[in-house]
C-alpha cells in the first residue's frame, strides 16, 4: 500500500493514499466538525458531496481552504485544522446556513437531537451577522408517516443519497435553483402522491428537522385517557436493543423488562410482544413456503413483514405481486388477534380495544392506515409510535427509565421464542422460517439451531440449507437498492431461490427509520444486532412452532396454520402502484 507522510497541526503521521484529511485527523485525535458528511460504509451508505463547507481546513501552499471530508492526502501535505483562517471560515459558512433557517428550536421535533444545533454550539456561534430572507415553503403533512419541512433543509443531500443511491426509490432530488432550491419531490408533489415507501431512511440521516416522522404522541395520550378504551400495546423486537440509547445507556443494551414496566406505568391495559406475532408470522409463512414448494406454487417466495418493502415492490415491480408471501406483518397480525381472539377472551367489544405499536420503523405508521389491514372497517392497529417517540413519552411522563425494575409481558400475546427475537435484524426472519420449515418438512428435531450462513451485514447474501432431500436456496437483501438487484435477477430468470428475505433498512429493523438517531455511527447498529442474537441465544425456546401460546391460539381459535380463519385474519393482498 502506497503511504503518504503528512503533518496535521504539527503532528507527523503516515497514512495510506486515498485517506481523506478528515479520516487522517481522526487517527491523531483531531476532530474536524462536519455536517453533510455521512459515512456508514459497512452498510453501503456514504454521502461525500462536500456541500456544506463546514469541514474546511488550511493546506500549505494552497490558496483556498479545502473540504477535509472529500480531499485526499498526498505525500508531504501540511494541514492546519485549527488556524484562525479555517475556524473563522467554518463559522461564516455555518452562519450563512443559519441565516435563513427558522429559529424554532424550542418547539422543533429535533430540539436537542439536531446536528445543526449541536454544530452552532460547537463552533461558538453567538450572533448571526448575515440576515436576509427566510424560506417559505409549504410543509408536507400529506402522509401518515413522514413530515417534510423544506424550510429546515440545509441541502446536505444525505436524504437524496439515501433515497436514490441506497434505496433506489428515487423520490427526492434537488429541485429549482438559487434561493428557491430545495430537496423535494418531482413537480412538488405531496409525498402521498409519490412512490415513497416511507422507509424513513431520509429521516434517519437528516441532520435537522427537514424530515421527521409524524408525531403520534398526542393521539396515544388521548386514547389512553379515555376510560372506556382497553388500550393494548406491542413492542417490536428491535426497539428493546435501542431504546436505552435515549437514556444514556450503551448501544446494544437489552431493556425488554424496563420497557414493559414503563408501558404499564404509562397506563396501557395490556403489554404484548410483537415477538409473539413474529412467531405467529413464521407459523403462517413457513407453512406457505412448504405449501408452495410441495404443490408447485410460485417460487421464490419473498417475505412480507417489512411495509416499506411491500410499498417498494407495489410501485417498482407491479408485475411481481404474486411472489411475496401473503402474510401480514407481525404488527398487524397482533392487532388482528388482539381485536378478535383477545377481545372475546376479555369480553370487550372489538371497537373498544385500541392497539398501539412501538416500532423501530416509520413505514409501520403508513402501514397501519392501509384499509385492507382491517376487519369490519376497524383497522388492525390504531397508532404507531417510533422508538424515538416512545422514548419521548417516557421522558414526558417523568419515568426514570434506567432505574426501572424489570417485568414480564402479559400472557396470551406476550410469550415468544428466540426465532421471534431475530426478526429485528437482516437475516433473522428467514432464519426463523428455516428453523420451523425444516422441522415441518423432515419431522425431525434440528440439531443445530444457529444458521450462521444466513447472518452478517453484506448487502446481498445467499445460502443453501439442506433440509432432508431438499437443498433450500435462500437469498437475503437489506436496503432497497440491494432488493432491487435481487428482483431484477428474478425478472431476468437468473435467480434460482426458494425463499428470499428482504428488509428495507440497512441492517434490518435495528437500523430502522424510527430508531434513536445514530448520527452517522455505524457501530451503534452493529451493537444492536449483537444484542438481538444474544436475546435469541438466551431464550429457553428458539423455534416459533414451540411457542406454547401460539399453539394454543391455533387450538382455541385459528384452527390450522394457513387455514381459513388464518387467511381471513393474518393474510393480505397487494395493489400495483405507479412509479413517480
Amino acid at each position: 500500500m502506497k503511504m503518504a507522510k503528512i503533518k496535521i497541526n504539527n503532528i507527523d503521521l503516515e497514512v495510506p493514499y486515498g485517506t481523506t484529511i478528515l479520516d487522517a485527523a481522526k487517527l491523531v485525535g483531531i476532530h474536524i466538525p462536519t455536517l453533510c458528511h455521512l459515512d456508514l460504509c459497512d452498510f453501503g451508505v456514504v454521502n461525500k458531496v462536500a456541500s456544506c463547507r463546514v469541514c474546511v481546513v488550511e493546506v500549505e501552499k494552497r490558496n483556498t481552504l479545502v473540504p477535509s471530508c472529500a480531499e485526499m492526502v498526498y505525500d508531504g501535505m501540511v494541514i492546519k485544522t485549527d488556524s484562525l483562517k479555517a475556524i473563522s471560515a467554518r463559522r461564516t459558512n455555518l452562519e450563512l446556513l443559519l441565516s435563513n433557517h427558522p429559529f424554532e428550536c424550542l418547539t422543533c421535533m429535533k430540539n436537542l437531537d439536531c446536528e445543526l444545533q449541536s454544530l452552532a454550539q460547537e463552533l461558538n456561534i453567538r450572533e448571526i451577522h448575515a440576515t436576509g430572507k427566510k424560506m417559505d415553503h409549504p410543509i408536507d403533512t400529506s402522509s401518515s408517516a413522514i413530515v417534510k419541512d423544506p424550510n429546515k433543509c440545509v441541502m446536505c443531500r444525505r436524504c437524496e443519497t439515501m433515497c436514490n443511491d441506497v434505496q433506489t426509490v428515487g423520490v427526492l432530488s434537488g429541485i429549482d435553483r438559487g434561493f428557491n432550491a430545495v430537496v423535494g419531490t418531482a413537480f412538488h408533489l405531496e409525498i402521498i402522491d409519490t412512490s415513497c415507501t416511507y422507509c424513513g431512511q431520509c429521516v434517519a440521516v437528516c441532520p435537522t428537522a427537514a424530515l421527521t416522522e409524524r408525531n403520534d404522541l398526542p393521539n396515544v395520550w388521548r386514547i389512553l385517557s379515555r376510560e372506556r378504551n382497553h388500550v393494548v400495546v406491542q413492542v417490536a423486537p428491535a426497539v428493546r436493543v435501542a431504546i436505552g440509547e435515549m437514556f444514556g445507556m450503551e448501544p446494544g443494551t437489552i431493556s425488554t423488562g424496563k420497557i414493559v414496566t414503563a408501558l404499564r406505568r404509562l397506563g396501557f391495559d395490556a403489554v404484548f410482544d410483537t415477538n409473539f406475532a413474529a412467531d405467529l408470522t413464521i407459523m403462517e409463512e413457513a407453512t406457505e413456503l412448504v405449501h408452495r414448494i410441495q404443490h408447485g406454487g410460485r417460487l421464490p417466495m419473498l417475505t412480507s413483514c417489512c411495509p416499506a418493502w411491500v410499498k417498494f415492490f407495489e410501485h417498482q415491480f407491479p408485475d411481481l405481486l404474486d411472489i411475496p408471501s401473503t402474510c401480514k406483518s407481525p404488527q398487524t397480525m397482533l392487532g388482528a388477534i388482539a381485536k378478535t381472539y383477545y377481545a372475546e377472551k376479555i369480553k370487550v367489544p372489538s371497537h373498544r380495544v385500541k392497539v398501539v405499536s412501538i416500532m423501530p420503523c416509520i413505514a409501520k405508521k403508513a402501514e397501519s392506515s392501509r384499509t385492507e389491514l382491517s376487519k369490519e372497517e376497524i383497522l388492525n392497529v390504531d397508532y404507531v409510535l417510533s422508538t424515538r417517540e416512545f422514548g419521548n413519552m417516557i421522558k414526558e411522563a417523568g419515568i426514570e427509565f434506567d432505574k426501572l425494575p424489570d417485568s414480564e409481558f402479559d400472557s396470551i400475546l406476550g410469550e415468544s421464542t428466540g426465532a421471534g427475537a431475530i426478526f429485528g435484524t437482516t437475516g433473522g426472519v428467514i432464519e426463523a422460517a428455516v428453523r420451523t420449515a425444516s422441522e415441518m418438512i423432515t419431522g425431525e428435531t434440528l440439531e443445530k439451531i444457529d444458521f450462521e450462513s444466513l447472518r452478517g451485514l453484506e448487502g446481498i447474501r445467499e445460502a443453501e440449507v439442506q433440509i432432508g432431500d431438499l437443498n433450500l436456496k435462500i437469498g437475503i437483501a437489506h436496503g432497497l437498492g440491494n432488493a432491487r438487484k435481487l428482483l431484477e435477477a428474478i425478472q431476468r430468470g437468473e435467480a434460482n431461490y426458494h425463499a428470499i428475505e428482504i428488509m428495507a433498512c440497512p441492517g434490518g429493523c435495528i437500523g430502522g427509520g424510527g430508531q434513536p438517531y445514530h448520527h452517522g455511527d455505524q457501530n451503534v447498529i452493529k451493537k444492536r444486532q449483537e444484542a438481538i442474537y444474544k436475546i435469541d441465544r438466551n431464550m429457553p425456546r428458539r423455534k416459533s412452532h414451540e411457542n406454547k401460546m401460539v399453539l394454543k391460539l391455533y387450538e382455541d381459535y385459528l384452527g390450522e396454520p394457513y387455514g381459513k380463519i388464518a387467511h381471513e385474519l393474518l393474510h393480505t393482498c397487494y395493489t400495483p402502484g405507479e412509479k413517480i
Binding site: P138, D140, S142, N164, G170, V171, L172, S173, G174, I175, D176, R177, G184, T185, A186, F187, H188, L189, E190, K579, I580
Partner: protein
C-alpha cells in the same frame, strides 16, 4: 402544493412520435437527458409536467431527477411560452450595461409580467443568465436571433419586426 396534470395521454401523439424517434436515434439515451429535454422543448414549445414524466419513463430515470434538471437550467421552461420568446440577458456584463431597463421596456411595451404570454400569443419575455455574448452587452434575443448593444429605445423596433414577420406570413 399543486395538483398537476400528469396524464401522459393528454400529450400530442404526433409530437411524441417525433420525440420517440429522436430518442431511438441516440446511442446512450439515458445519458442524454439534457439533449432529449432540448428536443422535447423544441417540439412542444415548453416542458409541461406530463411531458417530463413521459421523458423520465422513456429514459428510465426518476421523475424527480428529470424535474430537478428542468427546474435548474433557465433555458428550460415548464410554462407555455409565446411564439417568440424574448430573452433578456441578466448576466453581469449585460446587467451593468443596463439590461434591466431593456427588460422593463419589453414588459411595458407588451403589457405582460415575466414569463407571461401576450394576449395575441405572439410573445413572452424572460430573463436569462449569461448567454456568452458579453462583448455585445447588453444582449437581447428573440427566438434564435440575437441583438447586441441594445438600448431601451431600440426595443419597439425589434418587436415590431417580429410582428411584421407574423403579418407577412
Amino acid at each position: 402544493m399543486i395538483k398537476t396534470n400528469l396524464n401522459i395521454n393528454d400529450l400530442d401523439k404526433n409530437l411524441l412520435r417525433d420525440l420517440d424517434s429522436y430518442i431511438e436515434s441516440l446511442e446512450d439515451p439515458k445519458g442524454s437527458l439534457i439533449n432529449v429535454l432540448h428536443r422535447a422543448q423544441m417540439l412542444f414549445g415548453y416542458l409541461p409536467h406530463n411531458l417530463q414524466l413521459y421523458v423520465s419513463r422513456k429514459l428510465d430515470l426518476n421523475a424527480a431527477k428529470v424535474n430537478g434538471v428542468v427546474t435548474f437550467y433557465s433555458f428550460f421552461t415548464e410554462k407555455k411560452t409565446g411564439k417568440y420568446v424574448v430573452s433578456v440577458c441578466m448576466g453581469t456584463a449585460c446587467y451593468v450595461k443596463g439590461s434591466e431597463k431593456v427588460l422593463e421596456k419589453c414588459l411595458t411595451l407588451l403589457d405582460v409580467e415575466k414569463n407571461e404570454i401576450t394576449k395575441d400569443g405572439l410573445f413572452s419575455v424572460k430573463d436569462v443568465r449569461c448567454i456568452g455574448a458579453c462583448g455585445l452587452a447588453p444582449v437581447l434575443s428573440v427566438g434564435e436571433k440575437v441583438y447586441g448593444h441594445v438600448s431601451a429605445d431600440m426595443v419597439e423596433d425589434i418587436l415590431n419586426k417580429f410582428r411584421g414577420d407574423e403579418n407577412d406570413s
